[in-house]
Amino acid sequence: MPPNAAARSARATSTSTARRRRPAPDTTVSSAEALGFYRQMVLIRRFEERAARAYTEAKVGGYCHLNLGEEATVAGLMASLDETDYVYTNYREHGYAIARGIEPGRVMAELYGRSDGVSRGWGGSMHMFDVASRFMGGYGIVGGQVPLATGTALAIDYRGGREAVVCVMGDGTTNIGAFHESLNIAALWSLPIVYVVINNGLGMGTTVEQSSAEPELHKRAASYRMASARVDGNDPEAVYDAARTALAGARSGKPYLLETVSGRLKGHSVVDPATYRTKEEAAALKAADPVAAYAVTLHDRGLLTDESIAEIDADAMSAVARAVEFADASPHPDVSTLFDYTYATPVPNDSRRLPGAALYPAPPRPGAEDAGAVRIGAAR
């Protein structure tokens, strides 16, 4: 479906409160910023669709979780950050990495497991990391990033810095112990951090209501006397504004819990057909598609035309095509680099043995002048 048609059909079938039209936007977002959001959202949409295809072509291995349906949140949230701020996310992070300014080619190359991938092919879909953009990692263990992000906020505070940390997680993650330990610590120590809960209504297939005794997740902040808000995650401008407010608080030592509400358009990961969802649910999600909806909004505001919508889409398609080309051309990591990243500080006797190798290769014979003293560790 061409984007404009998608936008129209979205408008025609819209019942979602998420898409209540605002003729005159009560936001700080300028026209240029709004168009920037839209471009970003379309790029992420096209990138993720292409990643799914690459997965079915067996170019991508492992698990692969997509940001489809989360584009508005990604765009609004990432735009609210300063360059020096730190971002932690879960495994559903391709879009965040791209919006943080990492070349889509390097993100795709990581999916392909190539040496030019953001994590040099060591992380894969779930573990993207980039020092330069302070993108501090996607994490595959649910909740794993939450204490880490809190610690980075502690380091900022320790050094008297002005930066802040944004820690992105899913709704399901608010039931993990580490979430509560971390919020308590951040509030106690007045750390510059914003916890962002992406409420897409589901863990994998378990609903928020089935898993959270307080399903209005932002309210959990109350236990830690932490400020919080819930915002429409399908509206990039609302997310942007809410995130700016949250960040301003965080920078003055008031950590914040921001809940964004949006839908997950496909399965939990690429291989999940989401059969637990009814036809009606799927249709409603499609109707609330944030990319299509935002196209309509900007069209109504006179910022987009049918032509510019098509142009933006074509740009995104070619950016994604370039990313795939880059990934495909990037070399696989050389097996000789297998032991390069076990330790940052070289240490004697670290094992560099491949699975089939004997620990002491030359079969030692008694009397044969210390023949057995073949080194296994590369003492460096």
Binding site: M136, P147, T150, G151, G177, Y343
Partner: protein, 331 residues
């Protein structure tokens, strides 16, 4: 050189690293106001203030993870986990995060963090407070694990651990805290990844670490006197990386070995040492490698039961004698 306790040696190392490097800070439960459950951090809050000696809520996963996240951007946290038993609550942050971050992100972020924590039973603390589960961490590539047995090594390895850019678990031991030894006054970091022959001998190799390495020296002295047995003691000091070559070199000299360990036998550190010897010195062996290890039970509270379950100097002596008997039959 000064004659000081293992506890004092640790305290000296922490203090001196905090003076040397502003980025070094301590974080853990009851380490400030209370000065540490075992008083390793005594005086440090008063000297350095709450920013550098940070009392935490009882949230092992939260504060160990926070320390990791602080280390990722260049601070050098020293985490105290009150005893190694409680580290299980931080297992995810240690094993799935601290130990993985350098490799999983292709070498882009380092985790210069120390976790210091005592193991050890024998204090009638019951099953949940008396474990020796250092193996859990020594099993994991990306971690470094050291287990000093003397005050001098405690200081040297703590200094090395703090200056290292990888997560290092420093295994302390409840029953070593009050032991005394000569410790250099100056700060000389030890080398992680190296064992040490702490007593040279020609008859049998005894391999041990932490508390049992001290026991090994004790029984070596006794056996020399009582039986005229010349024991060589290899103190592993580093459980990961493991210095296999020092063990192998010793066994090639003595042709037999006993491993002393405070953990459980099955799958334990001693099993790894025995396998190493089988790999590297099979043809030199005159007897099977013997292991002295804790009885495989949740450690009971009642004193006679606890004592029976824990490896003792007498158990070690028996194992050495029996191993030498076995070699005599073969030689």
């Amino acid at each position: 050189m000064s004659l000081i306790t293992y506890r004092q040696a640790l305290n000296d190392a922490l203090r001196s690293e905090m003076l040397r490097d502003e980025d070094v800070f301590l974080i853990g439960e009851e380490i400030g106001q209370f000065e540490g459950s075992y008083k390793i951090t005594a005086g440090l809050l008063a000297e350095f203030g709450p920013k550098r000696v940070r009392d935490t809520p009882i949230a092992e996963e939260g504060f160990t993870g926070a320390a990791t996240g602080a280390a990722m951007v260049g601070l050098r946290p020293v985490v105290e986990i009150m005893t190694i038993n409680f580290s299980l609550l931080a297992l995810d942050q240690i094993v799935n995060h601290a130990a993985k971050i350098y490799g999983m992100f292709g070498g882009q972020a380092r985790v210069p963090m120390v976790i210091r924590t005592p193991g050890g039973g024998g204090q009638q603390l019951g099953a949940t407070h008396s474990q020796n589960i250092e193996l859990f961490y020594a099993f994991v590539p990306g971690m470094k694990v050291v287990a000093p047995s003397s005050p001098a090594d405690a200081k040297a390895l703590m200094l090395a651990a703090i200056r290292d850019d990888d997560p290092v678990l420093v295994l302390e031991n409840l029953s070593l805290y009050n032991t005394k030894g000569e410790v250099p006054d100056e700060d000389v970091p030890g080398e992680i990844g190296r064992a040490k022959v702490t007593r040279e001998g020609s008859d049998i190799t005894v391999v041990a670490y932490s508390r049992m390495a001290a026991v090994a020296l004790e029984i070596a002295g006794k056996l020399a006197e009582s039986d005229g047995i010349d024991v060589e003691v290899v103190d592993l000091r580093s459980l990961r990386p493991l210095d296999r070559d020092t063990v192998i070199a010793s066994v090639k000299k003595t042709n037999c070995a006993v491993v002393l360990e405070d953990d459980w036998l099955t799958y334990g550190i001693g099993a790894e040492i025995a396998a190493t010897i089988s790999d590297g010195a099979f043809d030199w062996l005159d007897a099977p490698v013997r292991r002295v290890a804790m009885a495989e039970v949740p450690l009971p509270y009642a004193k006679p039961l606890e004592t029976a379950a824990l490896p003792s100097a007498d158990d070690a002596i028996t194992a050495v004698r029996e191993t030498l008997d076995a070699t005599a039959r073969r030689r």
